[in-house]
Symmetry: C2
């Protein structure tokens, strides 16, 4: 169905490991000084405040081993992480809700560097239909199935107001996406087999405010 | 030091509870149909797929109790949650890095609805200094301390490239912010007493890609 089918399916990884792998990748990118060919788990551990044994265990999932006394080749480790995490492959996404947050996500070119390609927008506001944000055209909700097919979209991004989140997700799932990336503070339900990922930046704010408050700030 | 000092310090809450509270608030906002005065934990549980006992426990932290057979007053619960989570108060923030992601965050008016007020930007790009994004002026890194004082900023947002994340955070912490909201995939270290909140949207992408991959998508 798409080019990712040709890749070997990734092993089931514990989510904490999957969340740490991008830290390692980010750290490696700080070593591009031309003089660092190998990096040890000790050095990564010091930089990231993660146990060396944890790092070795996390990296073992990649099927990559360091050399005794030298550690990991920075170049190989970086390429392996990049590939393993899927950041090097293109994943087409349709974003539902092109208001403030939706438009911001479309405008964030960082997502493209991590393999996410927003190919179309959906909005219920008739004024927006047919318009473009950074070259991404906005369509009506009814066109979802047609868009998923045309653009081979696998991911649906939800950036609508809370009260429309479930309906927007249902619409994209019916249209054929295999994953929902939910940016609303809403709890969205998806059928079995559909991947759901919640990035509720506003919930993170609540945690931060509470911690600040505890310190009397 | 600022108006938040006059509020009673919030109790230390388990982070999972703090992350669920915004779901309840989001759900309540879907009940604004004029006909729903009370809501039961059973009804919230059905909508959000969370145990009724968990909901009752979470809400007990707010010092609010439902009425037997009726449940919670939607209005009271909503106001209490809003207040408890700090979304109704203003928290001034300075954002470091005003490239693609930084500019997107400045443009996202949703953050303001949740109490976050971005008052100034910082960037190392001389071309950007003195410019404005949605009325938010951009300054040099050296001006951080002056900006924190002038705007009574308590939060520093990090939206710089990975390799500059730690330095940008150190600069804002020295300047006097009490919390760092890190949007980079980097692991940032802060001194004891400073709150750190990580919203690595790219790590969430890695988790989502892996789950999709496992399904052969």
């Amino acid at each position: 169905m798409n080019d990712k089918m040709t890749h070997t399916a990734a092993p089931q990884l514990p989510e904490p490991t999957l969340r740490r792998l991008p830290w390692y990748l980010a750290y490696l990118s700080t070593l591009h000084d031309g003089s660092t060919e190998y990096v040890s788990t000790t050095r990564i551990a010091e930089a990231l405040d993660v146990d060396t044994s944890q790092i070795a265990k996390d990296l073992s999932f990649l099927g990559i081993r360091g050399k005794t006394r030298m550690g990991y080749s920075v170049e190989t480790l970086e390429r392996t992480l990049q590939d393993f995490l899927g950041f090097g492959r293109r994943h087409n996404a349709i974003i539902c809700g092109t208001g403030s947050l939706g438009a911001a996500l479309i405008a964030d070119s960082g997502l493209q560097h991590f393999g996410l390609n927003i190919v179309a927008g959906i909005d219920i506001n008739p004024v927006l239909i047919g318009q473009r944000i950074c070259d991404v055209e906005i369509f009506e909700p009814l066109q979802a199935a047609e868009l998923v097919k045309k653009f081979k979209a696998v991911i649906g991004i939800i950036a609508v107001p809370v009260e429309s989140a479930q309906a927007a997700s249902d619409n994209l799932v019916s249209a054929g996406v295999h994953a929902i990336w939910n940016f609303t503070p809403s709890r969205i339900r998806v059928p079995e087999g559909v991947v759901i990922s919640n990035t509720s930046i506003y919930s993170h704010l609540a945690v931060m405010y509470n911690r600040l408050n505890m310190q009397g700030q």
